[in-house]
């Protein structure tokens, strides 16, 4: 076994996250799927760090976490706001911006 299998796992998790974004309608679950994709990327970064023998990949993963945290804060606030005005957390209900 080589560390490359971590990369394959990362790809699988990323794809699952992407499919989740596409098929789930609850905005919060959608967000979770995005978190999963970020985590998959993090796994790849950490593995790359190991392959390259430097810690830069881990630092990158660290920054991804920070950004993810900020994004979650804002994203959840937006979801709250939408829910407060529309009484729904479904992304399909927020479809006024169209043709």
């Amino acid at each position: 076994m080589t560390p490359m299998w971590y990369i394959v796992l990362s790809a699988i998790l990323f794809s699952v996250g992407a499919v989740g974004v596409l098929i789930r309608r609850n905005a919060i679950v959608l967000f979770m799927c995005i978190e999963l994709m970020l985590n998959a990327a993090n796994l790849a970064l950490v593995t790359f760090s190991r392959i390259n023998g430097t810690l830069d990949g881990q630092i990158m993963a660290f920054f991804v976490m920070v950004v993810a945290a900020a994004e979650v804060v804002i994203g959840l606030a937006i979801i709250m706001l939408i829910f407060r005005t529309r009484r729904s957390a479904s992304v399909d209900d927020a479809n006024l911006l169209k043709y």
């Binding site: 992407a18 974004v21 596409l22 098929i23 309608r25 992304v91 399909d92 927020a94 479809n95 006024l96 911006l97 169209k98 043709y99």
Partner: protein, 625 residues
């Protein structure tokens, strides 16, 4: 003085500018400024006239500046003063000044009289430019200038629909002629490489007979348009919708004679081709008969005079068409006509002034007692136009008729007798007009109190009446010799003996005039019905302008309308169809495309993922493939 030819038209131009710019501020002094400007030009013209007499050769040219310098086309803003021009300058400024003076009285109560005098001076400017130019482009400049002034003045009372329509009619029919004229200028430039009179006439001999014929026909078309000759005569009677001084100056004395001027000026072109001359003569003859016949049936005093103008210009065309010595005859008839026709138009204006703008001669009668001066002056004009010996008309018209008999073949008989018949008819309808207006019983509408016009109006009448009487003596002066240098090169045309003795023609002319006058007096001496009565075919046709208007309507206007409608249809369905179709295509396509914008975030995310997968696949395909 001759070195300052530009002053002649610059003075009225300056006056026109001042008048048109000052508007109502000039209500008091404006009209008088309008009178003084052409008067100064007249005095200057007189001085130049006498100076020109001492020159040898009698011609002077000036190029003020380069007007259109484009490649091979070098047109200068050039002026020329020769005997023909001099005669015209004196006619325009002299008769023009008198009519301006008359207009001061006639237009005294009009709110827009300052504008009127501005247009009037503009007309004088343009007309002077027309005759002063030394090339055809300058002529055309003045030509369009008088056309514009004519349009502005015919529709001067533009709130009346009839006046506005008449202005448009004049403008559009003139366009037909102007198109011919400008094509003639193009033709000259294309074949002769010049538009200067002198150079054109030098090189015109090098043209083939057909080109010359076409050139002459195009010039003739322009002349017919401006002078109201057959087949473009219909606008001139309608132009009487303008104020009477306008009718007198523009549509009787000066502008409408511009066609005669063009043909006289272009005499080397016309003299060189007998076919062309025959056409000009035919046009003149047809027009003079047409004018006479319609003039007999009209009841509107100004329209009778207008058709009479058409007919008299027909005589002039006949004269210029005959060529040879008849050019000078036509010009002298033009001069005399300028006097007596202006005189009669102003007389008609005076009658209308005293009769509350009544124009129907059936509602006049017995006015000789109430308007002595108008009556007497009008009588001079009447006697002059029908050709009673001591007056001008006899001396100027009779030689043209005589010349018509001198063509040397069978056409002499045709044109000669047509001209004589025209004289008979002229005497008939002018006498009818005169008798119905000034003699016979009163047939006035109620509430009429005819009175003589103020001095400012009758003084010009007196001068013009004197002109009408004495203009004929020009024939006995050196005017004929005076004009001959202009028509040099036509002296070598063969002289034919008249088919009838000259004295017989003179006697016949006077006899016909007296016969026509007597006939009219006998019929209308006791007045006539107040309304037009049903009449025979000929009279009905004459009342309807011999159906020339109807002909124009059917042959030109209707197809024009159809063509326009067809074009509108093509434009709407075809051109717009393509444009709108394209727009609809894009719009429809966009309408369908925009359905992609469902508003569902997940659909967008799906397409993003699709794009990502494609990019990834492409990348891998390149890297691994």
């Amino acid at each position: 003085m001759l070195s300052n030819l530009w002053l002649l038209f610059a003075i009225p131009a300056a006056s026109a500018t001042i008048l048109l710019l000052s508007g109502k501020r000039a209500l008091k002094w404006g009209p008088w400024l309008g009178v003084i400007a052409p008067a100064i030009s007249f005095v200057l013209g007189l001085i130049m006239f006498f100076q020109l007499r001492d020159l040898n050769p009698r011609v002077t040219e000036q190029n003020l500046w380069s007007f259109i310098p484009v490649g091979d086309l070098q047109v200068s803003f050039g002026l020329m003063f020769d005997p023909l021009t001099a005669v015209f300058v004196l006619l325009i400024t002299g008769v023009g000044s008198l009519i301006h003076l008359y207009a001061v009285g006639y237009m005294a109560h009009d709110e827009r009289r300052v504008t009127f005098f501005g247009y009037f001076n503009l007309f004088i400017t343009a007309m002077l430019l027309l005759v002063l130019g030394n090339n055809y482009v300058m002529l055309y400049l003045g030509w369009e200038g008088v056309g514009l002034a004519s349009y502005l003045l015919i529709s001067f009372w533009y709130t009346r629909p009839s006046a506005a329509t008449a202005g448009k009619k004049a403008f559009i029919m003139n366009r037909v002629g102007d198109a011919g004229f400008i094509l003639a200028i193009f033709l000259m430039f294309a074949y002769l490489n010049t538009v200067n009179y002198g150079q054109v006439f030098e090189r015109v001999g090098s043209l083939s007979a057909n080109t010359m014929l076409i050139l002459g026909l195009l010039l003739l078309l322009g002349a017919c348009g401006k002078s109201g000759q057959f087949p473009l005569q219909a606008w001139l009677p309608d132009a009487m919708e303008g104020p009477t001084p306008v009718s007198a100056l523009i549509h009787a004395a000066t502008m409408v004679t511009a066609g005669v001027y063009v043909i006289a000026r272009s005499n080397p072109v016309f003299s060189a081709n007998t076919t062309l001359q025959l056409i000009v003569v035919s046009v003149g003859t047809i027009t003079l008969l047409l004018g006479c016949i319609i003039g007999c049936a009209k009841d509107d005093i100004k329209r009778v005079l207008a058709w009479s103008t058409v007919s008299q210009i027909g005589y002039m065309f006949l004269g210029v068409g005959l060529g040879g010595g008849a050019y000078a005859l036509a010009i002298i008839h033009l001069l005399a006509h300028g006097f007596f026709k202006a005189n009669m138009f102003l007389g008609a204006g005076s009658v209308m002034h005293g009769m509350k703008d009544q124009v129907d001669i059936r509602r006049f009668g017995a006015l000789s007692k109430y308007m002595k001066i108008t009556w007497l002056t009008f009588m001079m004009g009447w006697l002059a136009i029908i050709g009673i010996p001591p007056l001008s008309g006899y001396f100027t018209k009779e030689p043209i008729i005589a010349a018509a008999f001198e063509r040397g073949d069978w056409t002499s008989w045709l044109f000669g007798w047509a001209a004589l018949l025209g004289a008979l008819l002229t005497a008939f309808y002018m006498t009818r007009l005169f008798v119905l207006t000034f003699h016979g019983p009163k047939r006035w509408t109620e509430g009429q109190h005819p009175h003589e016009s103020p001095p400012v109006m009758w003084i010009p009448l007196v001068f013009l009446a004197i002109g009408s009487v004495v203009a004929g003596y020009l024939m006995h002066t050196s005017v004929v010799d005076w004009l001959n240098p202009v028509f040099a090169g036509v002296e070598n045309v063969p002289e034919y003996e008249p088919v009838m003795p000259h004295w017989l023609i003179s006697v016949l002319g006077v006899a016909f005039a007296v016969l026509g006058a007597g006939l009219a007096w006998a019929i209308f001496g006791r007045g006539t019905a107040l309304e037009p009565e049903p009449a025979g075919v000929v009279v009905t046709a004459a009342r309807n302008n011999l159906y020339t208007d109807a002909f124009n309507e059917v042959v030109f206007e209707k197809p024009g309308r159809w063509l326009t409608r067809a074009l509108v249809y093509v434009d709407n369905k075809g051109v717009d169809g393509v444009v709108n179709g394209l727009a609809a295509l894009v719009g429809g396509g966009s309408g369908r495309m925009r359905r992609l914008q469902t508003g569902f975030v997940r659909s967008y995310a799906l397409s993003m993922l699709l794009g990502g997968v494609l990019v990834l696949g492409a990348l891998l395909a390149v890297r691994l493939g």
